[in-house]
Each structure stands twice: as structure tokens, then as C-alpha cells.
Symmetry: C2
Subunit: 471 residues, 2 copies
């Protein structure tokens, strides 16, 4: 019989039987409990977790119902072979982070979130604008909207983008319900290609990997501190047809890399020469803490021979609940993009489109960004200092913006076991393996500094340091 | 040189150059303008449409930019072969309806919309609940939420579904951002099947077709007035592996058919025997105008051998802007469904989930539905009477609920030309061809009665009758 290394969180809003169910399920999916392993009896679990036998029974019944275990009368409960389901191990940490929304905030030190905490969301502005807009437009904002996006929002965005040397009219902007939807649309732009090959950094943003997997061939290339090695890139291009490149050019997730000007130009040059498109995911440009704000790659794209498909979300600069991203698709593919958007969800929230429009038009945006940036900058500098003094951790590349430090553990440990241990100790972070297409088990972690307080940053990193010592 | 049968709408908010661009583009996509055809000169168009030459030039430049025409110096503008883009002709009417949102309302008689008009949306309740919720929960509603959906909303929905004999706990409900997202999730549930075959009614809901196309093989079966012919169905099942059935069991879109009890039971029986799942899209059950409210097929699904994947949107019962649907996935596939939802958009709006929760919990739902139903019932009866007296139109099957009449034109006309002509005359409707997987050109139209006033219904149908006479 297996001992369960599980602890229930008595402060969580989640009911105990659900917690127990989820925890045992995770153990099974992570492979810590294997097919044929026997679970503790209901009585044993009831004693161990200090919960009633009914609660344990409820959890076990759910595990049985969902096909994770089988009850053999007179013998007990055993882990079953999971049919019809192949959860990739490396997705699990990410899913755990999201599964209950951001509930971790209350009970653990949160180094995993990819957005600022809700206390910095522009709640009062949202309330005001929402009220004004419902007065002004009434129920029409709840109808299906222009598929391409509310025209006046696109006009405002077109002006806004000019400041960053992106010159497009409102007709060239497509509004979507978020970055993931933009990536779905990208795939549909090329749905005629029977074999689509996408080249991405290794490591890269896992939700992008998740969307590309199963729909395309994925090729990876190592990321240097100023972008890819362009000779290596051209080698790849000579030997294989690459259709798409996906990259976060500014403050790459997870590494924080900003591409050099020279490499940007070279990338666009090669895109033309080898006939591929570059999907630029521009999520973090606004969040620079030293030097100048980096320009998007899109600003270098040549009119009439466009090679960049530009994506920019407002989930990070405003809040996830705004649910809006913008996309610029080269002219010849634009109509197809609108048709794809129609097929995916017909329209994005009209109310939130109007709110975003006013948020930008009434100039709330610069002040809001600057407020958040000031807060994040302090956390960023604090975490940097503490990491510099850590004995077991080393920053791989010092970023000058974004939300994350990409940190090497100076000890050869199993990163997924370490991740599990950290969670138990009240530290949520993401293991490096989550970001590699191969899922390779390098001893690297991604630490986000957006949510924890200065004290938590200090406490949390000390805890991580100690955990590594004990490992 | 081609004459353009285009008219600009001087009352539209859309700028003239965009209108001209869109109209010429539509002519090209519909095949009325063909490769090599010459457009009128800028001067000619300026005179014809009574707009400045600059405006015409802008429209022509856009057409050139987006690859629809080419300018040959000294000769003029010619329609070009469209590269990299294959818009299906039958999707165009649908896209036109949505392209500018529901702008048609103001200038035309609208028989095409699939939702009640915005004046019946529960605007005041939304305002109140939104205010209460932002007071109570603050910015947390704008964070990423539980991927599966806000737990308390799922609890409320679980109770609500009990009234319709669907017995599921909150753990078995998945919240999504709409019907289309539910269908995307369905596809991902079966992503391991290399060849997925979906069986649908002919005719069927075009957005479902749109999502299945390109991802599955589609098979169709004729719809009789009480469901499919079950002998024919079993013939198909004997000869081919069907993995999924997609159907609107109650008030089928576009025909209004309600399946008989006998055929429902038989369908579930066959689902078990031939190992397929039935995707039940339950969009219209609430909208019955005579007799009893029909039960969902899901209520007949046997626990522990579930065969129904249940989908129910709140876009029609509340409003499109709520952006929420619920899904019940059989237990063994549920985890996969949550993972798919995570991959598509991580979470559905937290604010709107809480609003829906309170909308149901505080019992606004029954009153709201009954109010809308009373209004729609009057329109339904009115349109029925007028159609009964039409000389050129005949209802195919008399529905007892839903939003549409499926109407045969008693004259052999080209339905897409007719559709174009109707649009020009200020009548928006959907040609039958939009609903057939084969796009077949039967002389049938779908007339929605949700938007037009009683007078408009009378006027509109008379106009259609006259148009057919002239055709």
C-alpha cells in the first residue's frame, strides 16, 4: 500500500473531498501513484487527514467515477489504467496553477502567476466606464458586434499603435478575445497547408506550444541572450520548410530576452527570403524597468511585403477579465482572419471593447501602466538583489523588463520532484520543464515577481534555497 | 467592362469607400465579377455612385492592396485571381449578416437574426447585478477563474438542471464562453481519433458545420418531421464508423423539428450499440409556444453509461453579450474537456459568470424568459398566419417553438440570386443553401421572427411574395 504525501488545506474554500480527490488524481497523473498501487483504506485516510470517513468515501467514489481507481470488493481501492486520456505531464503544473483560478494567493507564496495581482487592476475606472457606456449605448453592447471588432475601438488602437511606429489603419486591425484565440486564428490562416511547421524558441511560452501541438510540426531553436543564432537559423531554413516562427521578441517568456536590432532585421530578411511569417506575441513591451521601451518587431515590417503577424493582449496591461487582444494580419490574409474569428466565437464582448476604447481614448492607459510599472520595478529590483545573494540559485539572463526571472538551480536535482516539494511547502513556482517542447528536465525554474510582497519574495527565496539544500 | 449592380447606403455609419470596397469584394467572391473583368473607371464610378473621385480611388486602392484587383497602367482595374483564400460561397450570407454586427436592424427588415432584439435584453438587471458583484467581489472577478467555471455558478446550474430531469453535480458541469467553444472542446475530446466522422442533419446549424469542416468527415442524414429515419440511420451505422452525432433535438435550427420520444430512445440505444456520442445542442428548449416544454435528450441519458454531450448556451435566453454556455461531458472524458478549455481561453469572464449565477439564484430567469416568450409568441402566431396566406411561400414543417420558419418558395428560382435581390430591397433573410453541408441550391429560406415588428413581418413577407412574382 502506498503512503500518500498529501496535505489538505484547511483554509481553502475548496471542500475537503474535492481537495482529496484532486490531490490523489494529481499523484496518479504525475506517476507518483502507479497502475495497481493500492490506496489507503477509507478508515486510514480518515485518520491521517483528520476528516470524516464519509468525506474520504466521497473522494474515492469520484476517483472511481472518473476512471482513476477501481474498487475491488474485500480488497480495497487500486489505481487503474487511465483510458482515453493522455495528459502531458509537463502541462500539469500549469493546469494546477489555474485549476482553481488564483486561489493560491491566499495560502502560498505565489511565484507562478503571469499577471499582476488583482489589487492593481483598474477596478474603479472599470466601474465608471462600464456605467457610462451602459448609459450611452444601452443593451446594444450585448448584441453580436462587428466580427472584426468595434470600429471606433480599432480607430483608437490604430492611433495608439502609431506611437510605437506601427502604422496601420483601423481596417487592418482585428479584435480577438485573447492571445490564445489569436494563435488559433493564425493556425486557421494556414489551414490549407497540410503540413505546417512552426519554429519556436526552446524554452518558450507553454500555452503557445499547447496550441501548436497536435496541429503542426514544432521545431525548436536555442535562445541566446540577444535572440537566436542567425547562422543556425539559416541552416535550419536551408534544410527544412519553416512556415511560421512564433516568438516573444521583447521580454521573452520565460527568459526575459530582448532581441537585438541586428537580429530583428536579419529575421525579417530571412522571412522574406525563405517565405515564412513571424508571429510576434507582444505581451510584455510595456513592462520595461531600465533603459528605453523596446519597439515591436512589427515596426520594422515593410509595407506591401509584410511578414509579421502581430499579437498584443490587454490581459497583462489591464487585467485578464478584459478579455481582449488585437491582431494585425498581413493584407492578403486578413479576410481569412476575420472569417476564422467568426468561426471561433463570432464576436468579442461589446461592453469590454467599448471600455477598452474609452480607457485608451480618455488617456487612462499611460497612468495605469506607469503606476503598475513603478510597483513591479521595486519588486523586480528586490528579487534581483536577493537572487544575486542566493547560494543555490543563479539568474540565467538578467532581464530588464517583463514579469519573470529564469533561474538555474546550482545543483543537479529532479526538477519535477522539486516542484512538488515546493508546492507542499507553500511555494508555487513553475518548473523549467513546462517551457521546453521536449519537456526536458533541466534544473531551472521560472519565478514571477508580480504577485508576492517584498517580504514574501525574501521569505520565499530563502525557503527555496533551504529546500535545495535539503534535496 | 462590367456594370456594377451596387447601391451605397447613405444612411449607414460605414464610410462610403468601405461600403464600395465591401460591395465590390462581395461581387467578386460571389462570382458576379470574374477574373479578368474590368471595373468601371474612377470617373465613371464617381458619377454613378455620386461620390468623390478620391473616395472611389480609396476603395480601389484597398481592393488592390487586399489582392482582389490589379491596376494595369493606361488600361484600368481588373479583377485578379484570388490567391491563398477560399471563402465558401455558402458562408457569405451568414458573414454578411454579422460583418457589421446587427447594423441591419435600422435600415432593413431583419428576418435573419438568430437572437431576440436588444430591446428585450435584461439591461437593468445586468446593471444592478454588475454593481452588486463588483461591490462584493471587487477586482477578483477580473482574475483568471477556476478553469472549469466558478464553483458556485456550477452549483446553481446543477440545481437548475434538476428541474429538467438532468441530474449532475457541480463537478460534472463545465462552463465555456459559448456554443462554438463547446464544439471546439468536443473536437478536442476526440483528438486522438485520426479520422473523426460526425453525422448531422441536412439541413443543420451552419456554425456547427463550419467548426466540423476541416477537422472531421461530415456525413448527413435527412431530417423528418419527428427526427431522423431510424432505419436509415442504422443502415449508415452498419456500414461506416460514426464517432459523433450533432443535433438540436428540440426546435431544430433551421427547421423547428422536435424529435419524438421514441426516436430519442432509439438514438441513445444505437449510440450504445454502435459506440458513438450524441452532441445535444440545446439552444431553444425554453422557447416553446404551444404544448409542454420539451425535455432535453440528456434527461434520458443513463448514469454510468452516458452517451450525451450536452451543450446549452445563455446567448439566446439572456443575451449574446453574456458569453456563457454550459457543457456536460460524460465522466471519462471530463478531465480532458477541462484541459481543452484551458488550452482555448483559460477562463470565461468571471464577472459574467457571477452575474449569471445571481440571475438564476435570485430567480430573474423564469420571469425574463416568460416575458420574452410572450412577445415572441405573438410574432410567431402573426408570421404563421401571414405565411399561411402567402401564394408563393409554404412552411415546410410547422414548428411549435424556436425562432424560425423554414419556408419553401413555390417557384423554381436561384436561391442565392434571390437572396442578393432581397438584400437590395431591404429584406435580410438566410438562403436555405447556407444550412446544407453540400450547399445545395434548394428554393428554401429561413425566416426569423425575433427582430421584426408585426407590421414589418406583414410588409416584409408581402415584399418577398412580390419579389418572387417578379423573379
Amino acid at each position: 500500500m502506498k503512503r500518500l504525501s498529501i496535505e489538505l488545506n484547511k483554509n481553502s474554500e475548496e471542500k475537503y473531498y474535492i481537495q482529496l480527490y484532486e490531490d490523489i488524481k494529481s499523484e496518479i497523473l504525475l506517476g507518483n501513484l502507479q497502475v495497481g498501487d493500492k490506496l489507503p483504506s477509507i478508515r486510514q485516510s480518515s485518520i491521517k487527514f483528520k476528516i470524516s470517513m464519509t468525506t474520504v468515501l466521497q473522494a474515492y467514489s469520484m476517483l472511481e467515477k472518473y476512471g482513476y481507481i477501481e474498487k475491488i470488493p474485500g480488497k480495497g481501492c487500486f489505481v487503474k489504467k487511465i483510458e482515453n486520456f493522455t495528459l502531458e505531464k509537463k502541462v500539469l503544473p500549469l493546469l494546477n496553477t489555474f485549476k482553481y483560478g488564483q486561489y493560491l494567493e491566499s495560502s502560498a507564496i505565489n511565484f507562478s502567476n503571469g499577471t499582476p495581482p488583482s489589487k492593481y487592476f483598474p477596478l474603479e475606472i472599470y466601474k465608471k466606464l462600464s456605467k457610462d457606456i451602459l448609459e450611452k449605448y444601452g443593451a446594444s453592447v450585448f448584441e453580436y458586434q462587428n466580427v472584426q471588432g468595434v470600429q471606433s475601438l480599432r480607430e483608437v488602437l490604430s492611433e495608439y499603435l502609431e506611437k510605437e511606429d506601427i502604422f496601420v489603419t483601423e481596417n487592418e486591425i482585428l479584435i480577438t478575445s485573447g492571445t490564445q484565440q489569436c494563435l488559433e486564428i493564425v493556425l486557421k490562416l494556414f489551414s490549407e497547408n497540410l503540413e505546417l511547421t512552426v519554429l519556436v524558441s526552446d524554452p518558450t511560452y507553454p500555452n503557445a506550444l499547447n496550441i501548436f501541438q497536435g496541429n503542426c510540426n514544432i521545431r525548436t531553436i536555442e535562445l541566446e541572450e540577444d535572440g537566436w543564432n542567425m547562422e543556425k537559423l539559416e541552416e535550419i531554413l536551408k534544410h527544412e520548410k519553416i512556415d511560421l516562427v512564433y516568438e516573444v521578441i521583447n521580454f521573452h517568456n520565460p527568459t526575459g530576452v530582448v532581441w537585438s536590432d541586428e537580429k530583428r532585421k536579419k529575421l525579417l530578411h530571412l522571412a522574406k527570403k525563405y517565405n515564412f511569417y513571424v508571429v510576434e506575441d507582444d505581451s510584455f513591451s510595456e513592462f520595461f524597468y531600465t533603459g528605453e521601451k523596446p519597439k515591436p518587431l512589427k515596426s520594422l515590417d515593410r509595407i506591401n511585403s509584410e511578414r509579421v503577424i502581430y499579437i498584443r493582449t490587454f490581459s497583462k496591461t489591464i487585467m485578464p477579465g478584459i478579455g481582449i487582444a488585437l491582431m494585425i494580419i498581413p493584407p492578403l490574409l486578413q479576410e481569412k482572419g476575420i472569417l476564422a474569428k467568426y468561426g471561433i466565437d463570432t464576436t468579442t464582448s461589446g461592453l469590454n471593447q467599448r471600455i477598452l476604447e474609452e480607457f485608451i481614448r480618455e488617456n487612462y492607459f499611460p497612468e495605469h501602466i506607469s503606476k503598475i510599472k513603478n510597483i513591479l520595478k521595486v519588486k523586480y529590483e528586490h528579487m534581483f538583489k536577493i537572487l544575486e545573494n542566493s547560494k543555490n540559485l543563479k539568474i540565467v539572463i538578467k532581464p530588464r523588463g517583463g514579469f519573470f526571472f529564469w533561474v538555474r538551480i546550482l545543483k543537479d536535482i529532479n526538477i519535477e520532484n522539486f516542484y512538488g516539494k515546493a508546492i507542499e511547502e507553500g511555494i508555487s513556482l513553475l518548473p523549467g520543464s513546462t517551457f521546453y517542447n521536449s519537456g526536458k528536465m533541466v534544473p531551472i525554474i521560472r519565478l514571477s515577481f508580480t504577485v508576492p510582497t517584498l517580504t514574501e519574495i525574501e521569505k520565499g527565496i530563502k525557503k527555496i534555497d533551504n529546500l535545495i539544500d535539503e534535496f
